[in-house]
Symmetry: C2
Subunit: 129 residues, 2 copies
């Protein structure tokens, strides 16, 4: 089950997907509360967005109870990979390398993270084609 056909999530939809990925199936109220920790959003705004997401297939919902429970349909890793690919194309002309350099160079990565990346590179190199 890939993300084929599913449209790219908009910025707001992505915010909601993050919440659903992090917390599992959730009610609109819960998602709205989480959103409001970052910025002010009206309840019906969140509701509408989530309904649209269900329409688009980005999420599915259980309507058995009065309070509907929404669940991300778009799989986390798949979706992130796809968005990353598009972002690399749009912003770094398709060069993942340039992006990684920029990401690492920003001083964002801690020593532990650098170690992890080194380990990852070793793994990639050993299983090289």
């Amino acid at each position: 089950m890939t993300d084929h056909k599913r449209p790219r999530p908009t910025e707001s939809e992505l915010e909601i997907l993050q919440i659903l990925w992090a917390n599992g199936p959730s009610s609109v109220r819960f998602v709205n509360e989480q959103l409001n920790q970052k910025r002010e959003v009206g309840y019906t705004t969140t509701l509408k967005l989530m309904q649209i997401m269900a329409d688009k297939g980005l999420a599915s919902r259980n309507t058995d109870n009065r309070s509907h429970i929404y669940e991300a349909n778009a799989e986390e890793g798949e979706t992130r990979k796809r968005l990353l690919d598009e972002f690399v194309d749009a912003t770094f002309q398709g060069s993942a390398m340039k992006l990684v350099v920029q990401a690492l160079g920003g001083g964002q990565a801690s020593r532990e993270e650098l170690d992890e990346i080194k380990a990852l590179i070793r793994k990639l190199e050993s299983g090289e084609k």
Copy 2:
């Protein structure tokens, strides 16, 4: 001179910035031709976008000649960094590490690129705080 105050470029504006960064100051016609190698866009559409970019301060233009020459104002590295930061926040919850892993894991990086990254990491580690 940072990008302070300058609004984030839209997707289309970013496409144009890429062309200006890659080719230096350019005419609308040239930019439009480059765009059309990827997708069909009308000339006046490109023109309008570039005029908007000038309004927003993303680009500046020389109007001495009949054919105006546009130049990116937003600096390449700065802009990419900023977009990357926002993207990391939005898509990887602020974890540059997760993003790098995803980018490297995609099998996108060649051996040479991996070597470059290793070198970069060594450099980062030596100048560690």
